[in-house]
């Protein structure tokens, strides 16, 4: 737990943060530095409660060099102002690490994103639209009351001009995005929802201007500003993002900023991008291998859990090839770089260009499909009624033409999707399923093929199924095994230690950990060995890699061995049974076929189960499925799935802790909610139904409005009533139906 104690493995090694002393990095990490006072801002995933805020905001009592620290809880961010003369950036980071709040410092975090700026801009746009809307309503209201004809002409003129003045900032600033996107998509020969909106807004304004100039009336400015206000609210509602979650991570987030290079004159710290093939580098305990390399000296114990999802570390001997992305556990190792970071196997996978399927997906949304027909129909009706009146009553021909365009402005239509999907996204978020944006919902709805990764996705990443094979162990023997395992930090020891109940540990003497072999110690003078088969029995294991075994030797006999198998997630059988009915299921795994029988049992067939898949294989597999016109959902967890996740129509990452590192994806699913995946997918179908009903409602309103418009009888009061009512009722309908359905679903 953060802030509790300094555990062995996370205490900063002497030089882990040495790179922060280099000016090259210091200037990038610091947000401000002048006159000895510096400011820095860190993302700390561990921030999780009010005590964290208290502790981090009282950093100044730990070190007088810290002037002020300020926490932004939703962003899990801390802003620190400090005096560099008293505490260096490196010392500051080490202080944070020592109280167990480990800041994320990587390539990604020092390239400052500009998202918050956009958010502010939207707020200001909404503020201006609201201001104009409220005031325009006040000016228009007298006109809608009986007896308005007695209003002084001067007053009418003043109200008219004031509302035109109010409309100008709304049109040019608040609504500027609608015009811009309408223009951009027109240039690409696409009719998007923004085109009829821009068309409607322009006609509204011109019509109002003409009426006010000619003194005929006061125009429709209140409707115009109201429309923009409602649509911006919809945009804000839809745009809610999970600030502390990151969906855009690439290998840069994962890799360190700097590495320790070993040169003839000693060690120096260099930026990662300066790393060349042939360089000798030092990788310490808990550090990440930054590039494909060959082990020079030391025994590597590489944890690839982020890469493959496999929690057991892999042992490598001097001369072995080490892939980038693994984390060294144990003593420091020396590596010789084979390939530069950019050329390394895993990093190459990310540097792929954006795939055409997802790019195409973005434009082919339901709103844009509907609005294509909608726009054409509306323009045809407008022209039709214009021509009709031209021959019958020419003086209202132009008016009926513009009226149709005004009333058909698809505001309610444009609001349906943001509010339905926005509410759905919030419902999902409450249940531990975090979407990158609302567009994911529609893609999830279209999915017809699901591809699973095995290790860490359908199996539990942490806990394993442990069985003991051999003589039956007595309670005392179990306790001794637990006591011995307690002293080792190896993941296998930890797993075994956790699997045995009992609190009273027995004192162990002469404890020794023999890297890549096992552990040994004496209990009351009796030796116990635990470890690999070779270490305990002296025989080479014949079926290596198939199953993980820990052998136990005690009182001069071999007691037997623990067998560890990956445990499938609870409820997997049920989930697959349900999903099989609606989707085509595939399984890709980098492992060998040891588990084949179990998997076939789950999936019912071995047709779509593929073993020994490399990350590139996975990516190509997805591509082939998409070429067969399938909409693919990929569920994975590690970096080796990153290419496939990116390539698929929807990529979902399973994570035990959603704030920890996860590869770039469209959604993050909390691992304990995995079994509810089926319900989440079903719910997107529900959302789509709500969207379609919402469209129907807004079409009905449009029909009523059009019946006024084609007769040339659209008055400002009709517009002022019909437009807000249609918007508000669609918003209410969408939000309420989603929360009602969520209650019914009971996920």
């Amino acid at each position: 737990m953060p802030g509790v104690r300094i555990s062995e493995e996370t205490r900063p090694d002497d030089d882990t943060y040495a790179f922060l002393d280099l000016d090259h990095f210091k200037s990038k990490v610091l947000t401000f530095s002048e006159g000895g006072i510096s400011k820095v801002s860190f993302f700390i995933p561990e921030i999780h409660c009010a005590s964290c805020i208290w502790l981090l905001e009282n950093l100044h009592s730990l070190n007088s060099g810290i002037i002020q620290s300020f926490v932004n809880f939703p962003k899990k961010e801390i802003n620190i102002t400090f005096k560099e003369s008293e505490i260096s950036l490196r010392q500051l980071v080490e202080l944070l690490v020592s109280i167990h709040y480990i800041p994320e410092i990587n390539q990604h975090s020092i390239e400052k994103p500009q998202t918050e700026h956009l958010d502010k801009k939207l707020f200001i746009k909404i503020g201006i639209a609201a201001f104009s809307f409220m005031n325009a309503m006040i000016y228009h209201f007298p006109q809608y009351l009986p007896g308005h004809q007695f209003l002084e002409a001067d007053m009418k003129k003043l109200f008219g001009w004031l509302s035109v003045l109010l409309a100008i900032p709304v049109l040019t600033y608040s609504a500027s995005d609608y015009f811009l996107t309408a223009y951009k998509s027109l240039k690409k020969k696409i009719i998007s929802i923004d085109l009829p909106i821009a068309l409607g807004l322009t006609t509204l304004f011109t019509q109002s201007l003409v009426e006010i100039l000619s003194g005929k009336g006061i125009g429709y400015i209140d409707s115009l500003t109201g429309l923009v206000f409602f649509m911006l609210i919809g945009r804000w509602y839809q745009g809610k993002t999970y600030q502390a979650l990151s969906f855009e991570r690439d290998y840069k987030t994962y890799f360190p900023l700097a590495v320790t290079r070993i040169t003839a004159t000693g060690n120096d710290t260099i930026p990662l991008e300066e790393l060349k093939a042939g360089d000798r580098i030092l990788v310490r305990n808990q550090e990440i291998v930054p590039a494909d390399s060959i082990l020079k000296s030391g025994t590597a114990n590489i944890d690839y859990s982020f890469v493959t999802g496999e929690s057991m570390p892999v042992t490598k001997q001097a001369g072995d090839f080490v892939f980038a992305g693994g984390r060294q556990i144990g003593s420091a190792i020396e590596l010789i770089i084979e390939k530069e970071v950019q050329q390394s196997y895993l990093t190459q996978l990310w540097n792929q260009a954006e795939n055409p399927f997802t790019a195409n997906n973005r434009l082919n949304t339901i709103v844009n499909r509907v609005s294509q027909y909608f726009t054409v129909v509306v323009v045809l009706i407008a022209i039709g009624s214009g021509i009709f009146w031209l021959f019958n009553k020419p003086e209202i021909a132009l008016f009926s033409f513009t009226s149709v365009l005004i009333i058909a402005c698809p505001c309610a239509l444009a609001l349906t999707v943001p509010f339905t999907f926005g509410s759905t996204m919030r419902q999902f978020g409450r249940k531990g399923f975090y979407l990158k944006n609302t567009a994911v919902i529609e893609h999830l709805y279209k999915v017809d093929t699901i591809v699973f990764d095995k290790t860490g996705t359908i199996t539990n990443a942490q806990s394993s199924d442990i069985r003991f094979v051999g003589k039956k162990l007595t309670n005392e023997q179990l306790l001794i095994i637990k006591s011995l395992a307690f002293h080792s930090s190896h993941p296998l020891s930890k797993t075994i230690c956790n699997s045995i109940d009992g609190d009273e540990l027995i004192a162990i003497n002469d404890f020794q950990e023999i890297t890549s072999l096992g552990i040994t110690g004496t209990i009351n003078g009796v030796r116990m060995n635990m470890g690999s088969r070779y270490f305990v029995t002296g025989e080479k294991a014949e079926d290596e890699n198939l199953k993980t075994e820990v052998w136990v030797y005690f009182e001069n006999t071999i007691l037997g061995h623990f067998q560890l198998e990956n445990e499938y997630r609870e409820g997997l059988q049920e989930l697959i049974r349900k999903l099989k009915k609606t989707h085509e299921l595939h399984l890709l795994t980098g492992d060998n076929d040891a588990e084949k029988e179990n998997l076939v049992q789950f999936f019912g067939t071995d047709k779509n189960i593929h073993f020994n898949q490399s990350p590139t294989d996975k990516l190509n597999y997805i591509r082939n499925l998409q070429k067969g016109n399938r909409k693919v959902l990929m569920i994975g967890d590690g970096l080796n799935d990153a290419g496939a996740l990116n390539e698929s129509n929807v990529g979902i990452v399973i994570a035990d802790n959603v704030f920890n590192f996860s590869p770039a994806c469209d959604a993050i699913l909390q691992s304990k909610q995995f079994v509810k995946l089926n319900q989440f997918i079903q719910f997107t179908h529900e959302s789509m139904k709500i969207v379609k009903t919402g469209f129907l409602i807004s079409f009905l309103y449009n029909l009523i409005g059009l019946s006024f418009a084609v007769q040339g009888a659209l008055t400002p009061i009709v517009a002022a009533i019909l437009m807000p009512i249609s918007s508000v009722s669609v918003v209410l309908f969408a939000s309420f139906s989603v929360s009602l359905s969520a209650k019914r679903f009971r996920f």
Binding site: F32, E34, G35, I37, K39, A50, I53, W54, E57, N58, H60, S61, S64, I67, Q68, F70, V71, N72, F73, P74, K75, T81, E116, D119, K120, F123, I124, G127, I128, F131, M134, N135, I138, E152, M155, L158, F159, L162
Partner: protein, 69 residues
Amino acid sequence: MSVVFILVFVAILMAGAFLVAFIWSVKSGQYEDTYTPSVRILFDDPTVAPEVKADSTKDSKDKIEKKSK
């Protein structure tokens, strides 16, 4: 009725003042974090007052002000 003209202008000026205040509050970052201040208010006042130096940037001054509220 001419008094109405004055009232209309006074009204729009007042509303405008609120709009300006709103834009200022957005720009100064008051909407960036709507959760932490609600927790911060519950903390005891620090026993040792943090050394607040005249800071050259406006940003942190705002924050110190907010903290003392």
